[in-house]
C-alpha cells in the first residue's frame, strides 16, 4: 500500500508542477484553440505547397499564416516581457515606435526621393540606423520611467500620442514606396525557402535572447530589480540602468518588427501601421502567465503567448468574426486571465484543491 500511495503522490505532484509552471497557461490556451478548430473544421490544419507569383516555392495554410503574423508579436513580446519585469509596467508606445522605425528605414532607403528606382543605401545600413533611432526612443521612455519615476504607461503615453506624427515628419509626410524586390523578402519569402521570413527572423531573435540570458545576468538582474528595487540597489545593482536597458532592448525589437512591417507592403501608412499592436504584445506577456506588476518572468511562455494570440486572431478571421470586434474578444481574454491569476482567486483555488485532496485522503 505505501508503495501505491507514493506513486499516487508522485502523479499528483507532476500534475501540480505542470499547473504551477507558467507555461501551462499559454499551452492550455493553445490546446483549447487547436481543439476548437479541430472539431469545427480540421482543414484549418492543412498545409499546402505551391509557388507564389514570383515563382518562389511557398507553404500556405492557416498554420503558416499564424507563424508568419505571430512572429512580429513574438519579437515584441521578448522586449515587452523584459520591460514588464523590470519596471512593473508596460510600454504602450510600441505601435507608434514601429511607425518611427519603419519611417526611418524608408527614409534612409529612399534618400530625398520618395519613389526611388534604386535603393539609396544598403538595406543593412538603413536597418541599423532605424535600430539606433528606435533604441534612442526606447531610452527616452526608459529615462522617464527610471529617473523621473513616471509610471510606464503614463511615460510611454507621450510617444504613443506623438510617435506617428514624428514618423510622418521623418518622411515629410510623403509616402515612400520601395520598388526593389529584395526589400520585400523580409515580410514574405526568400526565394527558394518556402517558410515565411518573419518566422526566421523571430527564431533568430529567440536564439539571441536565449544566448543573452545564458551568457549574461540579464534575467537575474531584471527580475531582482522588478521584484525589489530597494534591495537590488543595496546589492550593488543600478535599478535605473537596468530599467533603461529593458526599454532599449524593446526598442531593438521594435526596429526588427518595423523592418518586417514595412517590408510586407514595401511602404508605410503612418497612421495605421502596427496599430494597437502594443495591446497584443502586452496581452502576450500576460497570457504567458507573467505578472504585469513585474518581477519573475518566463520568456518562452511570453513568446508562446504571442503565437496563441495570433492563433486566436486567425481563428476569428476564419469564422468571419468582424475584425473590429477582435479587441473585445481580446479584452475578454485579458479579464479572464487577470481575474484567474489574481491572488484572491488563486487562494480560493488552492483551498478548493486542498479540500478535495483532504476528502480523497479522508
Amino acid at each position: 500500500m505505501p508503495n501505491n500511495s507514493a506513486k499516487k503522490l508522485n502523479g499528483t505532484n507532476a500534475l501540480q508542477n505542470l499547473f504551477r509552471n507558467q507555461i501551462f497557461i499559454p499551452l492550455a490556451a493553445l490546446l483549447l484553440l487547436a481543439l476548437f478548430n479541430l472539431i469545427m473544421d480540421p482543414s484549418f490544419f492543412g498545409i499546402s505547397f505551391g509557388y507564389n507569383s514570383l515563382g518562389n516555392p511557398v507553404l500556405s495554410g492557416s498554420l503558416i499564416t499564424i507563424l508568419d503574423n505571430g512572429s512580429e508579436l513574438a519579437i515584441l513580446a521578448i522586449g515587452m516581457t523584459l520591460v514588464t519585469a523590470a519596471s512593473g509596467g508596460q510600454d504602450i508606445s510600441v505601435g507608434a515606435a514601429i511607425a518611427i522605425a519603419g519611417s526611418t528605414l524608408l527614409r534612409v532607403l529612399c534618400g530625398t526621393n520618395s519613389r526611388p528606382d534604386t535603393l539609396q543605401a544598403p538595406i543593412i545600413v538603413a536597418f541599423l540606423i532605424s535600430c539606433v533611432v528606435a533604441m534612442l526612443f526606447g531610452a527616452f521612455n526608459g529615462v522617464l520611467v527610471a529617473y523621473f519615476k513616471i509610471p510606464p504607461m503614463v511615460a510611454t503615453l507621450i510617444l504613443y500620442t506623438a510617435g506617428r506624427s514624428i514618423a510622418a515628419w521623418i518622411n515629410n509626410n510623403e509616402l515612400p514606396i520601395i520598388s526593389e524586390p529584395s526589400f520585400g523578402y523580409f515580410g514574405s519569402f526568400i526565394p527558394g525557402i518556402p517558410i515565411p521570413t518573419p518566422f526566421f527572423i523571430a527564431v533568430i531573435c529567440m536564439i539571441v535572447i536565449t544566448l543573452v540570458m545564458k551568457f549574461t545576468n540579464i534575467k537575474l538582474f531584471v527580475q531582482s530589480v522588478g521584484i525589489n528595487d530597494s534591495s537590488s540597489r543595496l546589492n550593488g545593482l543600478n535599478p535605473e540602468l537596468i530599467k533603461i536597458m529593458s526599454f532599449v532592448i524593446l526598442g531593438l525589437c521594435v526596429a526588427v518588427v518595423g523592418l518586417i512591417k514595412v517590408s510586407r507592403i514595401s511602404s508605410i501608412n503612418y497612421s495605421v501601421i502596427a496599430k494597437d499592436i502594443e495591446m497584443d504584445a502586452i496581452l502576450a506577456v500576460a497570457l504567458g502567465g507573467n505578472a504585469l506588476s513585474g518581477g519573475k518572468f518566463n520568456m518562452a511562455a511570453s513568446i508562446l503567448g504571442a503565437y496563441v494570440i495570433q492563433f486566436l486572431t486567425t481563428t476569428l478571421y476564419k469564422y468571419n468574426v468582424q475584425s473590429d470586434a477582435l479587441p473585445a474578444y481580446k479584452a475578454a481574454v485579458v479579464i479572464i486571465l487577470v481575474v484567474v491569476s489574481s491572488p484572491v482567486v488563486r487562494e480560493k483555488f488552492s483551498k478548493i484543491w486542498k479540500n478535495l485532496k483532504a476528502k480523497e485522503v479522508g
Binding site: 509557388y51 499564416t65 508596460q90 510617435g163 510623403e174 514574405s188 511602404s267 497612421s271 504585469l292
Partner: protein, 361 residues
Amino acid sequence: MKKKLLSVVLSTAMIAAVLTGCGGGDDSAATSAPADTTADTTAEAPADTTAEAPADTTAEAPADTAASGELIKVGIINNDPSESGYRTANVNDLQNMFTEENDYDADFAYSLKNDEQITAAQKFIQDGVDYLLLSAADTAGWDSVLQDAQDAGVRVILFDRTIDADESLYEASIISDMDQEGQTAVDWLAGQNLDAYNIIHIQGVMGSAAQQGRSGALQAAAEEKGWNIVAEQTAEWNAEKAQQIVQSVIDSGKEFNVIYAENDDMAKGAVAALDNANISHGVDGDVIIMGFDTNTWALEELKAGNWNYDGQCNPFQASYIDEIIKTLESGGTLDQKVIIMDEKGFDAETITDDDIANYGI
C-alpha cells in the same frame, strides 16, 4: 497595474473606430476623428504665423482690398496632414493655391481636435481674415464661432467636411459624395458582366462616411443582383490587416474573384496575400482588384494591369474654393450652397499617364 491595463485595453477597444482613410465626410466621419492617435504637432502653428497679421485690417474691407489689388486674407483650418495620404494631397493642394502669387495672404492651422480648431478659428476672426476655410474635425460645436465670424464680417467656406450648423452661417460647402463614389465603382463592377460575383469586401473604419458610402453601394448591389459576398470585414484602412483577412479566406479555401477594398492601402495588402498564394489578379487575372483614393502609386498599379479599378475621392478643392472667392469678391452670387465635386473612377484598360499625373495624389 492590472487595473490600468484593463482600462487601457477596454478603452482601446472602444475608440477603435478611427478615421484614417479618405477623410471626406458629412456626418459620422468627423465624429471619430478626435479619437485618432496621431498627435497633432502643428496645432500651435497658427499662433506664430498669425502674430504678424496687421491689426488694422478690418473685416468689412474685403471688397476694397480686392479692388485695390491687395491680398485677400484667408485663414485655413484643416486636419493634420499626417492623417492620411488623402489629407497630405489636400493640404498640398491648398498650400499651392493660396499663395501671394494668386493674391492671397493665407494662414494655416492643422489639428485633428475640434476644440483646437475652434480656438484657431477664433484667432483668425480676431486677426480679421476675409475668409475662413474650414475642414472641421467634428461636425458639432461650430455654431457660436461661426456666428462670431458672421458678426465680424468674415465669410466662411466649408470644404471636404460639412458641419451641423445653420446653412446661413456659411457661404458654401464643397464636399465629396461618398455614396456616389461607391455607386460609380459598383456600376463599373456590374459592367464587367462576370459569370459569377464572389466578392471579398474589405471595409474601412466602421462608421466613417467613406466606409458607409462605399459599403452601402456594394451591399445594395449585392442584394439586388444576387452577388455573393464571400467575406466582409473591416481592416480599418490598414494594409496588413487586409492582407491577413484575404490570407484567411485563401487558407479556408473559399472561391472568390473580386476584391473590393475601400481604400488603396487595403487593396495593396490584399494583393500581397494573393501574390503569396500565386493567385493572378488585375487585367486578365483571376481576381478583380478594386481600390479607392487614386493614390499615384495605386494608379500606376492600375496602369501596369495589376489592379482593375480605382475610384477617386477628390482632395483638390482649392480650385473650387478659389472660384467661389473670386465670384464673391466680384460681387457675384453663388448658384448653390453645397457643391459636390466631380469624382471619377479609373479603369485599368483606359487609364492614361495624363490621368496619373492629373489625378494621382
